[in-house]
Subunit: 470 residues, 3 copies
């Protein structure tokens, strides 16, 4: 067996001079509470607080970061229980064994980094996973999961999560959120996020059915707008701070009223063309920005993903099964209509995420460096790794400074990875700022002030998180 | 108050071994005269040599690098006097106070780096700007500006600027340049640059009016070509070394003569279509290269900017008000017609600038690594920062070597930032070359030779600057 | 004269702590045999084993990496003997002198790095080339080339090349390969590679002529498919492990049978339109993947090159004369049809190469991180340099891990550069892994295991190289 330990200086710069500065900066924020303004934790998990049943349903099944690499290594998604409820113990054990046997497939990835942190810090694992100890580790973790201290709410406290946003369907009744807010036992502010994609993409086969779920009279375009406005109001009343958009592109060209009504009617009739559906969705992105100016919801955009790239896998295992693949993205021209209209609107916030790293210096930095509304979203999804985060840090801050950054978001479905992800970000912030101090571009007191802002004040400000700055 | 100082090792590598090499290389070029073959200093400033009136009109109003970040931070451009003549003192003070209060917005940016250098080296500032000392700093600098030693020409001498190119309208009579060249008191060679964009973009609403200012008989296409040729000749006679192009794309497809004439006629008649105007502009870029082969003007191209992104701001504050935003750019196919015809023409120089960093290794390096005419322009505008310059250094030189680089250009409207910008470039060159030496890829004598070439000989050669190599 | 030496730590990290780790990792693989699964050595060179005639025909004439930079520096390609047989001695000497006189044009490039290695390690050169010693070096190398120990086969042994793939025309009779395989004196496994580009691009003017050379009845589409299938079978029988594709884009949209037949007929009739030819080529890329699923040939794709950019040079000096220029490339949508059909086919391997570095993190990493068939090809052509290799290492492994990499390929026409290129890759692998160890992201035993895999097991596995892992 090989020992598994976490080095206190992990991810910090290796140059001893720079590392010393980085240690001091990291120290200043290491124990700060977590602000998580965008993620995918299920609020019912926190409301119902059931014990996690087994390591596989906790670490593998819901996390496409893990299953996609095992799939690439030849493990069938079925073996891993993708898209299934928790597996019976023999199958859960077999899936866990697959993970341990393919531990080397994760070398160099952030998934491995988070895994190491979670195993050591949450579950007290002391051995590197492998074929030989897979069953023993399964037993150890399964045993830990039966402890009350490892139930979801207890972990939420232990993780020091101050604010946690979930991602929710506009038609959701938000009952789980209501219960959580009413429960004095929950110290974390858990907020819903308005995610209207499927209601705006009128060419989807299930759109007519979906849109009926919004409530209100959606028989015509005016009623549809009113229904969306009402659902946003409902979300705001339940604590939502943002609305999240993940369309194929960042287009925001508005239509004139008659054209929008015409397309809406054809969508209702099931006769909308793909081109018209795209035009309508871009128009609605513009309209959503207008609503944000009215109701204050922060608007987040993360375009440029080809969803469900492998049709046969999507058909069998559903969405989010590991083959959403990025494409090139364009913001400058696509956002122009929206920004000409709302880019200087007081209080409007638009956070831009990308999985096409080219646009950090080419488009996002320049946009965030002029428009008061625009913030550069933290590296997201495929880019949430040390090298890409370092690229983002320099590419965006050299153009737009630190005050135009969104602060870190974890965007995760893997509940136990939340602290490790935020800790990684803090270490990388400390390292980057230490580099600026060591190059005599920034004084250490400024770096200290900046890292505190990045961890606490900036995400609060950008996402309008209620409560006081730390 | 916190002290403001400049560390002698700023921007040099932090590894002690590499830093030692970098110090020696930097030392070799630190005090060399400045060659500035592309920039935006107003030649009348140097001819008339008026004292600068106040810190705001010097540092803030003309510099969109500064005003865009303050605008993003919520300061209205009107407060900053964008697009205005020098402000009355109370407003100038208020603008300066805004800058000092938002000093943290510039952390990590090159603007901050240049500011620090200018405040310390030119004006002897010893305190970090902030809300508390804003007025005192205003007074201190305003007082300095009244000293004869801080008038434009005195600064020009102090900055050791040997060659300075301005950017000029083809219809300009170049009277200021004539006066400067005739004045034995001016040690710097000040040269105009031919910037014909607006005369080539025949779809612009003011084109017909503009083109008449060229002089000559521009009633037909032949006369138009002749007028442009004559204005270039005039510029050459006044010391111009280059012609600068900043169109939306890098297209260079020529038209046949009849088609060019036809479009020209429709432009004169005010009936040209956008597509025809674009085709004509690409054709004219080809024709400008042909003229460069004849008259020797170096051709510089910097496509890929969406100008005046925020219409309402442009309408109120004019162009260059901080919201020109980059877009993806393509050189390989776009330049092919021009390069097939002129890419090996003896003495033709084409310098390619980009704000889309992707093309450094993908297109610019490969083009500059084959065509004798093509040089890789130094990182420009949004990319004139340490990390992006380092990216350029490795991306281009690993493909095309050092001898295909343009040498540094400052491209600035901020007169006082010229020495800080060139010094930053020299430090980064020293650091990059030191890295090659430390990795045993280059001997130190070669690195020494290379940095001297980059600072002095290379820009002289690429831009055909008159005078002897140092 | 300045000494030319190779430092044992060249290319390793400069931080002393990291360097120590890197040295140990490099030591573990330094002397391992070379697996070269993609390159451009002529098999007849190895079959006939003639002495190399002179330094120019060895180092300059066949290597467009060298000639393009000399051309950019102003040396005519004719002087360098591009596209010619070996030059008479006076011209060969003059070409060599040009190289030595322009030695500084190669500073900072990998070509310079490989040159240094080859001169010192193979030919015992001890002086830096330059104008003064050009003739002496020519004589020294020419003399060495007359030694039996420097004939192609002797070098093959000295370079410890265990497996070497060449690149071959599908119509080639592979006589040279047959002879090599039959010769017990040849310890290296030399394998052909099936390179069908010109047979799939039905719009090429010489296509009809070419396709006849395939043999079989290519009068109709079915016969054409059968002929290609038969030639692949023939290549497999002669040891081929892969089929290599270098089209303008990565499109793989299949046509229905009738449409394919129709286009094929029009191609035979010489009336195919460019659009139809492109559609057919994309269809055939799909069909080639289908054949790979049947016959096991690994499929390699390297799209995104604008071939023969400078027409006049191509007309005079032929293809591969230094002006193939990259363009932006897209894989996500282009490969979707192929991957939906074959991306999970057992045993199908698809290796993606790019000269557009943007796609490493945006497309190649995500694709290789899901599809068992997809591997991320090593940095290729313009990107085979230290900084770009480092970018690839972090961009791909943080998304897809090390086990999705192809392992190094040298892709070279410069026979003597093979060991220097592989050694460079090993040093960079050691440096990258040492950085992960120093950042406490990987244990040193894992890094050791990983570098051994990258050098030996991974290329064997990905390219299905016969023989045992080391």
């Amino acid at each position: 067996m090989v020992a598994l330990t976490l080095h206190p200086d992990r991810l910090l710069p290796t140059d001893p001079g720079v590392r010393g500065i980085a240690r001091r900066l990291y120290e200043a924020v290491r124990d700060r509470p977590i602000i998580s303004p965008h993620g995918h934790v299920d609020p019912r998990l926190l409301r119902d607080d059931p014990p996690f049943t087994d390591p596989t349903s906790l670490f593998i099944q819901p996390d496409h970061y893990v299953t996609r690499l095992l799939h690439a290594a030849g493990v069938p998604l079925e073996t891993l229980g993708v898209g299934s409820p928790p597996l019976p113990e023999d199958r859960a054990r077999a899936a866990w064994r697959s993970l341990c046997e393919h531990w080397d497939a994760f070398r160099g990835t952030p998934v491995r980094y988070w895994f190491d942190s979670e195993l050591v810090e949450i579950f007290g694992v002391t051995e590197r996973p492998g074929a030989a100890n897979a069953d023993a580790l399964y037993d150890l973790i399964a045993d830990q999961l039966r402890q009350p201290g490892n139930r979801p709410r207890a972990l939420l406290r232990r993780f020091r999560i101050e604010f946690l946003a979930t991602t929710d369907d506009p038609a959701d009744d938000l009952a789980a959120h209501r219960a959580l807010r009413a429960d004095p036992d929950v110290g974390t502010t858990v907020a819903p996020t308005f995610r209207p994609d499927r209601y705006l993409e009128v060419g989807r086969p299930d759109w007519s059915e979906q849109v009926a779920a919004l409530g209100g009279d959606v028989g015509d375009y005016a009623g549809y707008l009113a229904a969306l406005r009402e659902r946003r109001r409902y979300f705001v009343a339940h604590g939502a701070v943002s609305a999240d958009h993940g369309h194929a592109d960042a287009g925001t060209e508005p239509l004139d009223r008659h054209e929008a009504e015409r397309i809406y009617r054809s969508a209702r009739a099931g006769t909308v063309s793909p081109a018209a559906a795209t035009a309508f969705r871009r128009h609605m992105t513009f309209e959503m920005a207008r609503m944000s100016c009215d109701d204050g919801l922060v608007m987040t955009l993360h375009p440029g993903i080809c969803r469900n790239h492998h049709g046969p896998t999507a058909a069998r295992f559903g969405p989010d099964s590991g083959h959403d693949i990025p494409t090139a993205v364009e913001f400058t021209r696509a956002l122009r209509p929206l920004l000409e209209r709302f880019g200087t609107h007081p209080g409007f916030h638009l956070v831009l995420f990308t999985v096409d790293a080219d646009v950090y210096s080419r488009e996002i930095g320049p946009l965030a460096g002029f428009y008061p509304a625009v913030y550069a979203g933290a590296p997201w999804w495929f880019l949430d790794s040390p090298a890409e985060i370092r690229h983002y840090q320099s590419a965006v801050t050299e153009i737009a400074g630190f005050s135009r950054l969104s602060g870190f978001i974890d965007d995760t479905r893997a509940f136990c990875s939340i602290p490790a992800r935020h800790d990684m970000s803090r270490r990388l912030d400390a390292g980057f700022l230490a580099g600026l101090v060591a190059a005599h571009r920034l004084a250490e007191d400024e770096a200290h002030d900046t890292i505190c802002a990045l961890v606490s004040d900036q995400p609060r400000k950008v996402f309008k998180v209620p409560g006081q700055a730390g």
